[in-house]
C-alpha cells in the first residue's frame, strides 16, 4: 500500500530517531492510547512532537502560532485515534493531520492578510551536515533571502495548490502519496500540481501570477 511504503521520507525527524517505531510497538502504543492510558499519550506525544513541529514549520515557513498548531495536531490525533484503522503508519497519519492543520492555517492567513508572516528562517539554521565548511555570512544571507522568496511565492498560491506544490517540490513526494495526505485522488492532485507549478515558477521568475489559464509552454518570460 502506498501509504504503508511511503513515509520513510515523511516521518523524517531531523533531530533524532524518536519517531521510528516498529510495527508491533506502534500497534501496542496505539492500543494503549485507545485505552486512555495517559502514559501512552505522553509517549506518543514525546515521540512525534518534533516531527509534527518540523512538518508544520516547514510547510508554513514561520513559527508564528506554532505552539498552538502543534497542540491542535495532537488534540486532533488523540480525539481521532478511535477512528485510526491502521491502514497507514502512525507517523503517516500524523503527517496527514499536520498537512490539514497547516492547510487550515494557510486559509486563515488568506482571510486575514495582515497576519501573514513569512519565514523567520534564521531562527534555525540549515542541517550542518549539508555544508562541509562553515557558511560565510554572505552565503547565509543569500540563502535566507532565497528561502523568503520561495515562501513569499508560496503565499501567493491558493492553499490547496500551495500544499500540493510543497509536498511535491520540497518534500519530494509522488502523486499517490500526496493524494493520501490531502485526501484526494492522484488525477486531481496531478492537475492541481500542474497549475501550481506553473504559477509558482512564474512568480519566482518575476512574472505576475496569471489569473487566467496560461497560454502553454512557450509563454513570454
Amino acid at each position: 500500500m502506498a501509504a504503508q511504503v511511503m513515509l520513510g521520507r515523511v516521518k523524517r525527524d531531523t533531530t533524532g530517531s524518536l519517531a521510528t517505531l516498529g510495527p508491533a510497538d506502534e500497534a501496542d502504543l496505539i492500543a494503549r492510547c485507545k485505552a486512555d492510558d495517559r502514559a501512552a499519550h505522553d509517549e506518543l506525544y514525546h515521540r512525534f512532537r518534533r516531527q509534527a513541529a518540523g512538518n508544520l514549520y516547514r510547510v508554513l515557513g514561520d513559527r508564528t502560532d506554532l505552539d498552538d498548531l502543534v497542540q491542535e495536531v495532537f488534540v486532533i490525533a488523540f480525539r481521532g485515534l478511535e477512528r485510526f484503522r491502521g491502514d497507514a503508519r502512525l507517523s503517516t497519519w500524523l503527517y496527514r493531520i499536520c498537512v490539514n492543520v497547516a492547510l487550515g492555517k494557510i486559509r486563515t492567513r488568506k482571510r486575514r492578510p495582515a497576519a501573514i508572516g513569512v519565514a523567520d528562517l534564521d531562527a534555525t539554521s540549515a542541517d550542518p551536515s549539508l555544508t562541509e565548511r562553515p557558511e560565510t555570512p554572505d552565503r547565509t544571507l543569500e540563502r535566507r533571502q532565497e528561502q523568503e522568496r520561495v515562501y513569499k511565492a508560496l503565499e501567493l498560491l491558493a492553499p490547496k495548490k500551495r500544499i500540493v506544490l510543497y509536498l511535491h517540490e520540497i518534500e519530494g513526494l509522488d502523486l499517490k502519496e500526496i493524494a493520501y495526505l490531502v485526501d484526494s485522488n492522484p488525477v486531481t492532485v496531478r492537475t492541481r500540481l500542474f497549475y501550481a507549478r506553473r504559477e509558482f515558477y512564474r512568480i519566482i521568475a518575476g512574472e505576475d501570477p496569471p489569473d487566467k489559464p496560461a497560454a502553454g509552454e512557450g509563454g513570454e518570460p
Binding site: 525527524d13 501512552a40 518540523g54 514549520y57 505552539d67 522568496r149 519530494g172 519566482i204 521568475a205 518570460p221
Partner: protein, 480 residues
C-alpha cells in the same frame, strides 16, 4: 519548442525530468536569450533552496506547556462526553417520578405530563465516584550491591516499573528510585522498604528496617507524602530528609524544608538542619529536636538520591540505559562530573558518551575513561583497573630528585627573588615516576613564588633524570 522556455520547465531541468534532446534545446536557447538565462538562474536558486528548507530542523517550542494543554483539552472533552452520557433508564425514572408528582398536586390529568420538560429539570447527572488517583511508577536510577524486589534479584532492575505494593530490599549496597520530577529516594544498606501507597494523591513508604534518604518536590494541595517507621509517621510537603529506623529507635533528620514526625501521642516538627531521635516505645512529643552537626549535614548532602531531570518514566525506560561501573574494591566515582558514591555500581544514563572518573587513595578524582552507552536494556559496562599499589620507592626517588637538581640553573631562577631580599620561599610539587624512570606528571601544587619564577623552577625540576627503580608518586616541598 518554440519561443521562450516556460519557467517551470527550468525546474524540471533542474530536477532531471527533461529528456536529453529537449535539454539541449533549452540550454542553447538560454545561451542566446538573456531573459531566459535570468529566469533559469532564479528558478535554479529557488530549487536549490528546497533542499535547505527540507532539512530545516524542528524549532524548539514549549513542549511541556503544549503537552499539558493537549491533555487538558482531550480530558475536558472526555469529561464533557461522560457528563452528557445519560444513564439508560434515568429519563424513564425521572418521567415516572414527575408524572406521579404532577398527579398528586393537580389531581387526575387527562394526559400524562410531557416527558421532556421535567426530565430537563430532574435528570441531574448522578454524582460520579471520584476517579482513582493515577498510579505512580518508580524507576531505579542507581544501584550498587544486591538489590531485591519482591523477594527476587531482578536481572532487569533498571527496566522495572515499580508500583504500589513493591517491596525493595538492599544488602550491602544501596538503590535509588526516582518517582517524579526532583522526587526520589535512596535506600541505604541493609534496608527494606515497601511502597505501600504509590499514586498521584498519596505516597506512603513503610520502612521496616534501615535507612532511607528522600528528596521530594513540593506537594500540591491534597497530595501527601508519608514514611511509616514503626510507631512513627513522617510527613512532609517538599523537602530532603533521612529516616533511620530499627527496632530500638527511629531518627529523622531534615536537610531542608520541614518534616512532621508524629505518633499516637503527638507531633513534633523538625526543621532544616535538625533531627529528632525517638527511642522505641517513647512518645515523640517528649523527644528534643536538636541541630545537626556539619558532618551530619555533609552526610545528608552526600546521600542525596539521584534524580534525572525531565522525568518521563515511559520515555526514560526506552531512551536510557544502565551504565555499570566495575571496580576492584570500593572506589568513589564520578560520571560526567556528578559524584555517585562508591563503585561498583550501576547508574541510569542517557545514551551517548560519558566520562567516568574514579578517586584514588588520596581522594583525588582522575579520569578513568569514557564509555559509549546505547539505549538498550543491557546498557554498557566500564571496568576500571585497580589502582596501582602504593609505591615503596619514595625515599629512593626523593633522593634522586634532590641530587639531580641543577643547582646553578635553579639559582638563576631564584636570582631576582634573592636580589629583592626575599627568603624562605618554597615550591611544593607532586610528581610521579615510573619504574623506567620516566616522569608521569609534575605539578606545582603550592608555592609563594611569582608564577614566572615558579614556572622556571618547575622546568628545572622537570629536567631531573631518574634511573630505573621503584615507581613512586609523592609530594615534595622544596625550600628555596
Amino acid at each position: 519548442m518554440s519561443g521562450h522556455v516556460a519557467p517551470h520547465r527550468w525546474a524540471d531541468l533542474w530536477a532531471g525530468r527533461v529528456g536529453e534532446p529537449e535539454r539541449g534545446v533549452m540550454e542553447r536557447h538560454a545561451q542566446s536569450c538573456r531573459a531566459c538565462a535570468r529566469v533559469r538562474q532564479r528558478v535554479t536558486r529557488a530549487s536549490d533552496s528546497f533542499t535547505t528548507i527540507r532539512t530545516q530542523p524542528a524549532p524548539e517550542v514549549s513542549w511541556d506547556a503544549i503537552r499539558a494543554r493537549v491533555h487538558w483539552s482531550v480530558s475536558t472533552q472526555r469529561r464533557a462526553a461522560h457528563r452528557h452520557r445519560r444513564p439508560a433508564y434515568g429519563w424513564l425514572a425521572g418521567a415516572l417520578a414527575t408524572g406521579i408528582a404532577v398527579a398528586l398536586v393537580s389531581g387526575p390529568a387527562p394526559t400524562p405530563a410531557p416527558a421532556s420538560q421535567p426530565i430537563a429539570k430532574q435528570d441531574q447527572p448522578a454524582p460520579q465516584p471520584a476517579p482513582p488517583p493515577a498510579a505512580l511508577v518508580g524507576l531505579v536510577s542507581r544501584a550498587s550491591g544486591d538489590v531485591m524486589v519482591d523477594g527476587v534479584r531482578p536481572a532487569d532492575l533498571f527496566a522495572r516499573r515499580l508500583t504500589a505494593g513493591s517491596v525493595i530490599a538492599t544488602a550491602e549496597g544501596r538503590v535509588d528510585l526516582q518517582f517524579g520530577d526532583k522526587s526520589a529516594f535512596s535506600l541505604g544498606p541493609r534496608s527494606t522498604i515497601e511502597l505501600r501507597r504509590f499514586d498521584a494523591q498519596t505516597i506512603e513508604l513503610a520502612i521496616n528496617d534501615g535507612t532511607v534518604d528522600v528528596v521530594v518536590a513540593p506537594r500540591t494541595g491534597g497530595q501527601r507524602f508519608l514514611v511509616d517507621a514503626g510507631d512513627q509517621v513522617v510527613e512532609v510537603r517538599g523537602t530532603q530528609f533521612r529516616v533511620a529506623h530499627d527496632k530500638s529507635a527511629t531518627t529523622v533528620a531534615c536537610r531542608h524544608g520541614l518534616v512532621a514526625v508524629s505518633d499516637g501521642t503527638g507531633k513534633v516538627l523538625v526543621g532544616a538542619a535538625r533531627r529528632v531521635h525517638v527511642a522505641s516505645g517513647s512518645p515523640v512529643s517528649s523527644e528534643p529536636v536538636v541541630a545537626l552537626s556539619s558532618d551530619e549535614l555533609a552526610t545528608l548532602a552526600q546521600a542525596t538520591p539521584l534524580a534525572l531531570p525531565l522525568w518521563d518514566p515511559a520515555a526514560l525506560v526506552q531512551n536510557s540505559a544502565p551504565l555499570e561501573i566495575a571496580t576492584s574494591g570500593h572506589r568513589d566515582v564520578r560520571v560526567d562530573g556528578l559524584e555517585l558514591g562508591l563503585a561498583p555500581l550501576r547508574v541510569r544514563v542517557m545514551p551517548g558518551r560519558h566520562t567516568v572518573e574514579t578517586a584514588d587513595s588520596a581522594g583525588r578524582f582522575r579520569r578513568a575513561g569514557w564509555v559509549d552507552v546505547a539505549a538498550t536494556p543491557h546498557g554498557a559496562r566500564l571496568e576500571i583497573p585497580a589502582e596501582p599499589p602504593p609505591t615503596s620507592g619514595i625515599t629512593e626517588r626523593r633522593h634522586q630528585l634532590h641530587t639531580g637538581i641543577d643547582q646553578p640553573r635553579l639559582g638563576r631562577c631564584m636570582r631576582s627573588i634573592a636580589k629583592a631580599g626575599l627568603t624562605g620561599t618554597y615550591v611544593q610539587v607532586e610528581l610521579a615516576v615510573d619504574a623506567q624512570g620516566a616522569v608521569g606528571f609534575l605539578n606545582v601544587i603550592d608555592t609563594d613564588l611569582p608564577s614566572a619564577t615558579a614556572s622556571c623552577v618547575r622546568e628545572v625540576l622537570a629536567d631531573v633524570r631518574f634511573g630505573r627503580g621503584a615507581a613512586a608518586t609523592w609530594r615534595e616541598r622544596i625550600d628555596l
